[in-house]
């Protein structure tokens, strides 16, 4: 028996905003949501125009108004996607959480630790769910990697190295995407480290199951007139003795969205690259390298569960994003029925968001102290 679609609202994402479109596709892909309301822009006229283009039944001039009005309707939204610049996340999320509306929020959690703490307090006392879209955790091969490590296929972990490399800010980056990302007031204290470094960090933690002990960071702003970092080199010391490095950059020409994770233990290694997400190298020590595939031979439960089509029919970024939306839908369905949220749902939560914020803060702190080792 099919569940009725979850009534979804959206804050931000008007016009040609990249990530708003992604969230809408992700919500639509598996058929679990119906987008019925939006406050798509801080500029009311733009919000309305975008809502009309998208055929949204209800458009609001602000998220405050939207939260209030939707909470009052019998058929009001059950969940809201927050896809604004970072500095709006906290207040917007709070407005909905306080009214019992589930929140699906883009990363990083907020632009400041103070905001993060405020949000966390509200979230903890709210019955509503909070999902953070660290979307790369939704890839099937990432689920397999996590499962293999948990099962001991790599032995004791020694190294967790991750890099996330782009090139779009090599020159004078312009346009909607770039504008707020280089503004500390809207983006927060981290530039590339907040925008993509947090993704890399989250992925490393998600897959390895490790927690970070300390880090030493060297942040740079290479772009002319830029105050926020566009490149970061970070050395990592994981709890339990493993080591690692994190490199994120937005000024490395030739790299579109090159997120890559490598994990090595005393029994084997794993190597995954986001631009070829349907593959995962598994390298048991002393044996031939094996190329595992999405929904292919040797697929684990999580790999298969996150897949829609057979191996060789590439799934990509949008499907991984949709996987999180679908996991959130299962949680919301359970919530509707008054049931406990199933324990096998792995979508990122407020906890991940808080850890990401601490990571950004620690990187900035270490870098300002000449790369001293600091705890996040």
């Amino acid at each position: 028996m099919a569940e009725a679609p979850i009534r979804l609202g959206m804050v931000g994402g008007g016009g040609d905003a990249f990530i708003g479109g992604v969230h809408r596709i992700a919500a639509r892909l598996d058929g679990h949501y119906a987008l019925v309301a939006g406050a798509l822009s801080a500029t009311p006229v733009k919000a309305r125009a975008s809502a009309e283009t998208l055929g949204l039944p209800r458009s609001y001039d602000s998220y405050v108004e939207m939260a209030r009005a939707e909470a009052d309707r019998d058929d009001g939204i059950e969940a809201v996607a927050i896809v604004t610049p970072n500095h709006v996340h906290a207040d917007a999320a709070i407005a909905f959480l306080e009214r019992g509306i589930h929140v699906i929020c883009d990363k990083p959690l907020t632009s400041t630790m103070v905001d993060a703490e405020r949000l966390a307090q509200v979230a903890r006392s709210s019955d509503a769910l909070f999902m953070l879209t660290h979307n790369y955790t939704g890839y099937p091969m990432i689920r397999q990697a996590r499962e293999m490590i948990a099962a001991g296929d790599l032995g004791n972990l020694r190294l967790v190295n991750v890099e996330y490399v782009q090139d779009w800010m090599t020159g004078l980056a312009e346009g909607k995407q770039a504008e707020w990302r280089v503004d500390p007031a809207r983006s927060g204290a981290g530039g590339s480290i907040g925008d993509i470094g947090t993704h890399a960090y989250n992925l490393a933690c998600f897959v390895s199951g490790l927690r970070l002990d300390r880090l030493a960071a060297d942040l740079d702003a290479f772009g002319a007139g830029r105050t926020l970092d566009d490149n970061a080199h970070v050395m990592l010391r994981w709890q339990g003795g493993a080591k690692g490095m994190l490199w994120c950059s937005q000024v490395a020409p030739g790299n579109e969205n090159a997120l890559r994770l490598r994990v090595y233990g005393d029994k084997g290694g794993l190597d995954w690259a986001q631009e070829e997400p349907n593959k995962l190298w598994f390298t048991p020590f002393g044996e031939p390298k094996r190329l595992l595939t999405r929904n292919g031979a040797g697929a684990t439960t999580g790999n298969t569960a996150m897949s829609r089509v057979p191996g060789g029919h590439p799934e990509g970024y949008l499907e991984a994003f949709a996987n999180l939306y679908t996991e959130a839908a299962h949680a919301i369905h359970a919530h509707r029925r008054g049931e406990t949220v199933p324990g096998d749902l792995l979508f990122p939560t407020l906890q991940d968001g808080m850890e990401g914020m601490r990571f950004i803060e620690a990187c900035v702190r270490s870098s300002s102290r000449d790369s001293a080792w600091v705890s996040p």
Copy 2:
């Protein structure tokens, strides 16, 4: 201003049928369709159960009943997706076309040339649109390849080689997918050549802009007890003097869905592989090889138009499939408004389906005549 979603029905695709699910996702992904009715299985009880699972408003026991009933409703379906085994395509499509309902049909067109001709006659006299889901033509890099060739970037074409290699029938293939594909009564005279060879052939024609003059084929059934081919080697002579080869196989271990197209002219070459669909090699003679990417540097109009997200964020099989659904939606929207269908829509049509049928027939004919050169 958003167009109201197109009311869509589906014939076939019940239970865990692979391709039915693909069509549903493709229809949903860009938000242009609402699936409202189905005759999802030839077995009524299964049809009903599947409809309930999917939350379909209206379920029918047969496509005949569905065509009749939906045509009578004011809010009846405007289009239908036909995703049954091949031998049902013709009658089902005819039932809807005769009632002015647009048809989106899986490939190959039908199981016999007689059926194909019958369908073609109806389709030509119907006002309704007919789209055949040769889905690989929906990939952004395939659009770029076509545009580059049309623009003369490769010079005069000399070679068009294509291969489509799988391994799932290496052993005794079982299950729903395999069952009807090895049965000539339901699949038609072609095995692998009909199932995947037609895709390869269609893609080669679509990208190169060439038409086939003659072919010489050697078909085989390696699987024990199999009557239909599971491997085919075909030599190609294109009109105008270019040559080529087509190889399709379902018994080559290690190949999941390895469709690859290579085109060479006297000025340069192109090389594309479906399993890494976001890349396209362009090799101008005497210059360094260039790796073009989806929505990346050097993207042509068609590449960008078929893309949703920036380069480096992989789009895949489902997005390519959805691109055809979206092009069909644009055509249906124009039809709604009484306008001419825009000329830049490139979704495959009945014409492509007829050419595919002639290709299958010619391969079987040539193979039975010891690989004599025959015209399709």
Copy 3:
């Protein structure tokens, strides 16, 4: 105890001839040969200049003179490398074989079947050894592929597909390399099929252990004014029921030296590409793909035996070529000692050369008969 180096002569290979230099490096690499005499060019003045540049102790104006003089010396050459255009191979080889001097001859064997038969007759009655440098058989991963197939790792073979693709004749190819290759009088009846198609065919036979039953070929000369083929598509029927294709081309822009062999059985597959020769894909059906490496985990005896350095330290074309020279040296050493040539030496022989000639002839014959199936 080290063997004294084999005294080697060379016929052809003067000036900047590509293949002459390759043979000299191959002879030198493992230290088994000392190049002491040469008739490096048909033009005496050029022969002398080249010999002086190379520091050769003895230079001759013709191979006839050289054969005679060296045979008379106590310290005369024990072996000769013949690296001339094809039409000289037979007479030159005969001159040395008749005097008991071992011959290392470049491929193809000769330019005509008549010459081949003449040579074969002499070779059979000579005590001297004859090696044909089908150099690709010297790659370690090729040895592993052969051993795996012989051991049954792929099960019963169904498909042996091979392609050898270059681009250097895309335009008007010029220079020493091109000149004689497009001249039937010097090259023979085959163009690309003789130059590289024979390599591909030899490799397919060497690795698979199969013998060809019949072939159907379609040869073309795309280059303006060219009489010999620069592209060939060939369908293959192997004895025992396996099928295959061979494609060779010298007009496919973007391909430098793209020799690739794929073999599939009912239990698994192998895939090897010459441009990344240190890797071999092994794909057991239903299991994850495995990437085998030169001298790496899972290396077979032949892989290790043909390797000089550990995995990850790439060996290439020259090392593979040198492997044949070294195998020939082991045979010559045995001959010196009056022993039987060890049975585990796999360097190509006259027999391979004859099969290559029959293959070329069969391709030309089939193509002239509109691609009829013919026996080689």
Copy 4:
């Protein structure tokens, strides 16, 4: 006119020592050297047996004896290759340099800074040449990378990242190769950082033309009972403002010899991996990625000069090594003639060796001070 071969001796490299065999092949490959004497092992009986196996005319029980005896001969060695464990380098090199015999020494320079200074002093006052075999600088694509950066193709450099990853010490590494490398008395203060980190550092400097300002290192010994590092993460600050990272490891399963260099400027990037050495990615910002090849389209002078065979015919590790030997031969030839050594010879020298020693020392120092930034 051919130069007479350079009479070469060897210290170390007896038995199955990996690097001794490599030096011998490298010396032989281009025909510029004749190996005529050796002190192949510190164990006389082993030295003699190895010399006999190799067919060396003269064998010595110690390098001291050899240096003395050869210097006294009219036909004594002109150059010596030193391929012993690190702690022997200094004394051996000094013994030959003091007698005017050219030295070709494996890296790192020595095992201690004190030894390095001693050696440097002798080398500076000797007329003989000193080459250090940082062999990766001999790759053709590395020469092209260096030339492109010098020509400004990347603009102002911002990032130089290098990694050198192996797996052979993942477990309890055993055998001749491992034994002395884990012993500080013979290897020096650096483990992986000395063995492979210096290669990576040298390559980064060679290609980028940058000099290091400061580094912050975190060294680890993961292997049980190991005192020397088997993994190192290092952050780099280059003079002039560029940043970078260096990661070397010998405990990362699945990595055979994975040296990779990435350099990014404000106009473009370069990416090279040693295991596929015939390729170099050049990524001009905002343009399609280009794959440059050895001796292929777009090859620079240095690429072509270091190549023996056309593109597509892979050259590898041994050819790159031989390129250094050949450059040294050109220098020694000039020396013979009393001429100045040509300025375009780029083989690594004592200066590179000293920088490598300072790098190792700085890494160890930084790591012992909790990764403080230090100057090398």
